[in-house]
């Protein structure tokens, strides 16, 4: 397998075309476009209730150039398991089966079917595109919404920290696990290229900002995604059979405050909270790097 190492090598074919219904600079749409560059046309994707499930088109229009099914909220990994069982019994082995869910469809309402599929080592790729809120219903808080984030149902700031989905999924001992960011497209594309060649349960978690939910400008989507990584808040790594490899390390980390202050959703964070988060990021960064 030749990993794509420059943007020039990225295939031109769009499997999620322009004209889709996402907002300008929708992080979700960027994520799926990047992933499909690696996965290619022999891919079946199932997406539970989420923005991503709906922006692909409505009525008789679609932006999808691959088979797509808008699944019930809880079910994407279960549906994917069924699709794989059906392909297997027909002897079809060269098709990627992907369940692509937001944070709710992954960590909350979709968690039951996700953990089941992971435990069964289903031969699927589950992707979480994470904008850290329930954007499709208006941006309410979910389990991976960060501590103190202001959302329509946590107007005083979310009282609990973000659930560590990577640790939870790592505990299932997947064949492949990775974090990714839309601001690092080559890193993301390579991870999908690798995942594609691995049999078994694969989990990829992409940080994909939503300007609306995060309270940033439309044109700041990629910039803020990059700051998350450059501050050490969002680590880029992959684990193959539990062996971790950091795939990108910022040369000099920027203060988390630079990331937080751009976002309206963090307006409830005072200096003490920012300092606590910085300390937490520092600690975790040391842990991972060693």
């Amino acid at each position: 397998m030749d990993l794509i190492t420059s943007l020039a090598e990225v295939p031109e074919t769009e499997l999620f075309t322009g004209g889709h219904g996402g907002c300008r600079s929708c992080g979700a749409a960027i994520a799926v476009r990047q992933a499909l560059k690696a996965l290619g046309p022999r891919t079946i994707i199932t997406i539970p209730a989420s923005c991503m499930a709906t922006i692909g088109g409505s009525d008789l229009t679609t932006a999808w150039e691959i088979p797509f099914y808008h699944a019930l909220f809880e079910t994407a990994p279960a549906v994917a398991s069924g699709i794989r069982a059906a392909l297997d019994i027909q002897g079809i082995k060269d098709v990627n089966v992907v369940s692509w869910a937001g944070d709710a469809g992954t960590a909350d309402i979709g968690f039951q079917s996700l953990t089941g599929a992971a435990e069964r080592q289903e031969n699927i790729i589950h992707v979480c595109y994470d904008n850290e809120t329930y954007m499709n219903t208006g941006g309410q808080a979910g389990s991976v919404t960060p501590y103190l984030a202001v959302t329509p149902d946590t107007p005083g700031g979310k009282p609990t920290p973000r659930k560590d989905m990577l640790a939870i999924m790592a505990a299932h001992r997947p064949a492949y696990l990775a974090t990714a960011s839309i601001a690092y497209p080559l890193d993301l594309i390579q991870k999908f290229q690798k995942a594609k060649e691995i049999q078994g349960f694969r989990y990829i978690h992409i940080l994909a900002p939503c300007f609306k939910g995060w309270g940033i400008r439309e044109d700041q989507t990629v910039q803020v995604a990059r700051l998350a990584v450059e501050s050490g808040l969002w680590l880029l790594y992959e684990e193959i059979k539990g062996q971790r490899r950091v795939t990108y390390r910022p040369e000099r980390r920027v203060p988390v405050a630079d990331y937080l202050r751009l976002q309206g959703r963090f307006k409830q964070m005072d200096d003490a909270a920012v300092a606590a988060l910085q300390a937490e990021v520092d600690r975790r960064f040391q842990e991972v790097q060693s």
Partner: protein
């Protein structure tokens, strides 16, 4: 070849003979033995199928739906709590016109918690757009399941099918069941693939439907369910030709000739009612029985044709739609409305597994006969056996 099988075993053999390709099922009492038996068939090599050992009933139907959309013949088993839990998925399957077949081992819905048989679980899903068969005995379970695959997959139908039989009374009781030859079943159930999730022909399935299109999809779905009754009759005739067993169409009568008071019921109660009708006839009563085999689509035409000349109908419902009464009674009254002014007496009985025997049905018959003689208008519904 005849074997002594309980209802669950009959269902498992039907799945094997139908060569189901994906089994995605979650255990629930008293249905779990069906899946266990099928996994044994897979392990011993008498069935080539993939078993998705899902982590919930809701995921079971989701996985079965995924498999069906990707072109495989899929099957599952559930009842009561599991059926209620997967309710929203039922609507996806029927709305997406996928011919998933499901055996439902009828059991009462909590609360209070019950493990025992009645039809409330299936009736609660009557609007889900699934074809619903109710089986009288274990032979019919096997035969109806085989017919269900062909019916659901028929071009004119393309709908999911629920085959109902009662927990314990049927699931765990052994009867003689004749298993057709695999060759006969293969000729009856050719494998036809119609994947909608296919990389060779990409489609977007279940995009957001605006008011401009949603209702039209429902119209077509309704038309398909209505067609299913006639197609079911056709398929039964073909099956009868191959096996010698004719279950009739959506309804079948017993001793209806000259019958004045007709018992109408579904499921295991039909067997009990046959015995009761024989006893009543011996006592000089003009009793008859109408078995409803297909509850959805409800056979309105057959109901009208068979019942319009009788003096009274006694609907026996092992279910209750609270404050409204029994589902069968309601459907029968709707079918007769505007066509014949036949009084329909509605009885709620057997809920939560409360036993109903021959004497009970004879007592109900006499109650109705007395109420008729007194000239009383039938109550909306009455409870029996409290």
């Amino acid at each position: 070849m005849p074997q002594l099988l309980n209802g669950n075993e009959a269902a498992a053999h039907a799945a094997r003979l139908a060569r189901v390709e994906v089994l995605a099922s979650y255990p629930i009492t008293p249905a779990a033995p069906v899946m266990e038996k099928i996994t044994q068939f897979i392990t011993e090599g008498s069935l080539k199928a993939n078993f998705v050992r899902v982590e919930s009933d809701h995921s079971a139907l989701a996985a079965a739906l995924g498999a069906s959309m990707a072109g495989a013949r899929s099957f599952l088993i559930t009842n009561s709590q599991g059926l209620a839990y997967m309710s929203e998925v039922l609507y996806h399957v029927s709305g997406l016109r996928q011919p998933v077949v499901m055996a439902v081992v009828n059991r009462a819905l909590a609360a209070p918690h019950s493990r025992f048989p009645e039809h409330g679980d299936a009736i609660a899903q009557e609007t889900a757009g699934w074809i619903q068969f109710f089986c009288e005995n274990n032979q019919e379970v096997l035969d109806s399941l085989l017919q269900a695959f062909r019916l659901g997959e028929d071009e004119r139908v393309r709908l999911p099918v629920m085959v109902n039989y009662e927990g314990y009374i049927q699931s765990h009781t052994r009867e003689v069941v004749d298993l057709p030859d695999q060759k006969v079943v293969d000729s009856f159930l050719p494998l036809v693939r119609r994947p909608v999730l296919d990389v060779e022909n990409p489609l977007a399935v279940n995009t957001v439907a605006s008011p401009a299109v949603y209702m039209d999809y429902k119209f077509h779905q309704d038309e398909a369910l209505k067609r299913a009754g006639e197609v079911a009759r056709e398929i039964n005739a073909i099956y009868a030709g191959l096996t010698g067993r004719d279950w009739g169409g959506p309804v079948s009568g017993y001793r209806l000739e000259g019958a004045e008071i007709v018992l109408v019921t579904m499921g295991s109660l039909v067997s009990t009612a046959r015995v009761a009708v024989d006893a009543l006839r011996s006592a000089g009563e003009k009793a008859g029985l109408l078995k409803v085999r297909l509850f959805r689509p409800f056979p309105l035409t057959e109901i009208r044709a068979t019942l319009k000349t009788v003096k009274a109908v006694v609907a026996l419902d092992k279910n209750i739609v609270f404050s409204s009464g029994g589902a069968l009674a309601r459907e029968i009254r709707a079918g007769l409305y505007g066509h014949a002014a036949v009084p329909v007496y509605s009885y709620i009985l057997g809920l939560g597994g409360r036993d109903v025997d021959v004497e009970d049905l004879m007592a109900i018959y006499r109650q109705v006969r007395d109420q008729r003689q007194a000239g009383a208008v039938p109550a909306p519904y009455q409870w029996y056996g409290l």
